[in-house]
Symmetry: C2
Subunit: 187 residues, 2 copies
């Protein structure tokens, strides 16, 4: 075995790239977030890891709502910009066309292939971050992103991120059917 | 705007694919987990969403340790098999070559490009799942997966998963430099 040890602060390969939408001090704000995962099926819960000093944390705590938007690769420059500047200093409300759903305080991005409107379910306080768990109330997409009624990742063309090399990636080739190709190994 | 509403139980696009290693009732077990995210930088914390009835949950609760292994796309059949059958019924200890690190009870997969050895930091109890938060103690890789000292996702060739279409995908093309391409939008 040729294993070597590397920094324990190693990231997930790859991180999905999302834009988290909040309303802070009365205006829409968007932050790039790669620390995101579904955490429960019923009710549908999703969590995001956000440093507690971020403007986004303030918005979630104030409104108890947020959105998670999946940008396509052609939005990469705007996504990157949202990850570089803080809403404390820069007004990010006009970078994207936005809309609101039933929660009224979770701004969503019209150009985004998939928008999840979330209401705060729980906040896990960690040493530096809050892990905000939201219940997904409504998901929004457009017909053009669907194939046979399901979201089609090749039509969505989402962004991936790797760290610490700070690189964006697209999704590549189809690599097999889940809950299926493993049957070969069943006896 | 042509937005339509879809099922609130919509997944992250895409989910990274990992194999979570545990020692349960004395033997190594591996479960396919796509609900995974880093949640804190210092200390390096990572969380996984696992249904509380899973054999893996039992192993984590017993040993307070687990591993997260990133399989390459050529391991897709074995990964899928690990997602289809429960360690309660099937011995999955011999599917992969395994090794142990300093924690002694977190089996890792030799064929995996990246293995994270974790000790349980916190358990968030959700309606159906436990969200297990682990502190990453050590990460293991091999020289062949590195470029300029960093993990190279194209050499790792990890798997992605989309649901509900149950499809595996590979990582595609490089799509730009993070914390860089957004500078065009700065005034």
């Amino acid at each position: 075995m040729r294993k070597i040890r590397i920094d324990a602060n190693t990231y997930v390969y790859p991180n999905p790239v999302t834009l988290v939408g909040t309303k802070v001090e009365g205006r829409a704000n968007f932050m790039a977030v790669g620390w995101v995962s579904r955490v429960n099926r019923k009710p549908p819960l999703i969590g995001i890891g956000v440093n507690r000093v971020h403007y986004t944390a303030k918005g979630i705590q104030e409104t108890k709502t947020f959105s998670i938007n999946f940008p396509s690769a052609d939005m990469a420059e705007s996504v990157d910009y949202c990850g570089m500047v803080s809403g404390k200093k820069v007004d990010k409300s006009n970078i994207f066309e936005t809309f609101y759903g039933s929660l009224k305080t979770a701004p969503m991005i019209t150009e985004s292939a998939l928008c999840m409107e979330c209401k705060l379910f729980d906040t896990v306080e960690l040493p530096a971050n809050h892990f905000f768990i939201g219940e997904i109330v409504t998901c929004y997409t457009e017909e053009k992103y669907l194939t046979d009624g399901n979201l089609d990742i090749k039509k969505m063309n989402p962004l991936l991120l790797t760290m610490p090399d700070k690189s964006y990636w697209t999704v590549g080739e189809y690599a097999g059917k889940a809950w299926s190709i493993g049957k070969k190994l069943q006896r």
